[in-house]
């Protein structure tokens, strides 16, 4: 029988993340959103407690969690603040290509020193010319003796202004599309690497996002991950691992929206009774609850599939796509439940809508997820 109960171990992880989220993140979420402040002190605490490098095995200094365990934690953090969560889990995204493609020598060189202290890393794939079509990236890598020289620009890169390490995807030959791409590990100190200024964003305003310019950045061949031409596959395998936690992030936002809406509906009275007693509001809450449950279970299922050793491309795409659509819908309905107050910045629900929106876009826009789902699905019929 499949078992949906959490082990005591899982419960203690979740409780710990919940406590951190509610005591450290919630009190600052509204302020950081309003001021677009990057709360480094909170990220430092998250690192100190082991909440940051969740996917890095303990032997390399991370927390060594299964994808399922990561999802439990990410949902709790996102319940408190989607933007802070994006910045806290960006290391998992940036380090995953290293976990997947680095040699034992590289693992030892990069990870223990990185994980031991508070450091941020950035995953640099998207370019101004396009994000969805990752095979078409233009950032060039030219071989020069024992080194590569990188030139180009990345955009929308999470944590880039604050990162000390960048995993960068660049092409040796744009004509070869996917097969021309290689992955590199580049330190912040590399000459010619310049993060841009913080973008002004609709949501996730506690997170930091910017361009990264590469102008003649020299990277030793020893800092290439995998073989030449293996970069695209590393990027896709990375996203196969990190898509599911985005489903958990969206679930956390959706759960927060539902909780706010249900509590408000019990308190707010119109026509002589709490609005929770009007059937129209009950139906709204019932539909929101269905969406939240389904989002969580699809996320758990994708994590369980991948933890069991399967690739889980279909399952993780379904989870990410469904949960992010659910988050936007539930946040929207939460605002509707609040009426005019929901539209006011003084109340917490409009932030949830702005934060939910991003989950439909990053780590593979939902249109691309649907393309992937259809492709995987139709394979079973042909």
């Amino acid at each position: 029988m499949p078992d949906f109960s959490l082990s005591p171990e899982h419960e203690s992880l979740r409780d710990m993340a919940r406590k951190f989220a509610r005591t450290e993140m919630v009190p600052h979420a509204a302020e950081c959103d309003r001021a677009a402040r990057f709360p480094e002190e909170i990220y430092r605490k998250a690192h100190a407690l082991g909440l940051m490098n969740l996917n890095v095995p303990a032997e390399w200094g991370g927390s060594g969690l299964s994808l399922f365990e990561q999802c439990l934690i990410v949902e709790e953090l996102a319940y408190a603040c989607g933007g802070m969560t994006t910045s806290i889990i960006a290391n998992c995204l940036a380090l995953e290509p290293i976990l997947l493609g680095a040699s034992p020598e590289q693992l030892k060189r990069y990870l223990p020193s990185f994980c031991a202290e508070y450091h941020l890393a950035s995953f640099c794939l998207t370019e101004p010319g396009g994000g969805s079509d990752a095979g078409a990236i233009r950032t060039r890598a030219r071989k020069d003796g024992d080194e590569y020289v990188l030139d180009g620009e990345k955009c929308f890169i999470t944590n880039a202004p604050h990162a000390s390490l960048y995993t960068v995807f660049a092409t040796l030959d744009p004509q070869q599309r996917h097969r021309g791409i290689s992955a590199f590990v580049v330190p912040r100190s590399a000459k010619g690497l310049t993060p841009g200024k913080d973008e002004e964003k609709m949501g996730h305003r506690a997170s930091s996002t910017s361009t990264v310019r590469f102008e003649g950045v020299r990277v030793p061949a020893a800092d290439r991950l995998g073989e030449e031409g293996e970069g695209f596959s590393l990027a896709m395998r990375t996203l196969d691992m990190t898509r599911t936690p985005i489903g958990a992030l969206a679930t956390g936002i959706a759960q927060a929206a539902l909780d706010h809406a249900a509590r408000y509906a019990l308190k707010r009275e119109t026509f002589g009774k709490p609005i929770a007693e009007h059937q129209a509001i009950q139906i709204k809450l019932a539909n929101m609850a269905q969406a939240v449950h389904a989002a969580r279970l699809l996320t758990w299922y994708a994590a369980w599939t991948i933890d069991g050793g399967q690739k889980g491309t279909l399952e993780s795409s379904i989870a990410k796509c469904f949960a992010s659509d659910a988050a936007l819908h539930v946040a929207d309905e939460a605002i509707q439940t609040f009426g005019g107050y929901g539209y006011m910045k003084e109340y917490p629900v409009e932030k949830l809508l702005r934060d939910a929106k991003l989950t439909q876009i990053y780590e593979g826009a939902n249109e691309i997820q649907r393309t992937v789902i259809a492709r995987e699905l139709l394979r079973g019929y042909s």
Partner: protein, 260 residues
Amino acid sequence: MEIVVCLKPVPDAETRLRPRADGSRLDPEGVKFVLAGYDESAVEQALLLREAIAGSKVHAVSFGPPRWTEEVLRAAIALGCDTATAVESAGEEAGDPIAAAEGLLGAVEGMPHDLVLLGKQAGDDEEGLVPGALAEMLGMPHFGYVVDLHWDGAAQRLRFGRSAEAGQETWESPLPCVIGLQQAWNDPRTAKLPAILKSRRAPIAKVSPPAPSPERAASVPERFALPPPRTGAKMIAYRTPEEAAQQLVRILKEEAKVFP
């Protein structure tokens, strides 16, 4: 220094509490029991002393039904305690301070103990009887309301303060002794994620409590009830502070009848 910290499992403040159907006491069904209140400070202080005195060890002990004590002891291990010992009770007597002290006594006597640390009172009933009772049974001096606890290695003495009504007393004591702690040097630390995972696999030693002494009847609560629900607050609509004050005076006079 061998430090024993005694920890009481108390209901998680975030769980919804309700009385048992017969109204006799708290219904433990579905309630999470956690490390809380002054006991958290006791663990923190024990760990700080261990860090300050080379070769020290911290032993966590808890009395209660296994389901309750396990969570508390695992939390203590995740925070850094070296060993964990559960004194298993059936649950009925877990709230009786003398039964708790007797239960803890057997465990403490069975392990090295230079210093026995407890929270000055439990996070739930706040009776504060166990530290004194345990000290009496161990034949050791007891100090309650302790703050600023330090070990003076040269003099081989503990130095500490006791918070009193009008200030702070300064004390010293040789070991062994029993301390009911009011406050550690700093806020209790939070367990790190890998330590929480490891604590799940840590061994917990089990000790049976002694048979209750025949000359003493355990205290049993007669009735357990939740406080009556609070009646609704009244919001005053006003434009100026003067108007708010006028309305308040009117309500206090005419509705609440606080003064004529």
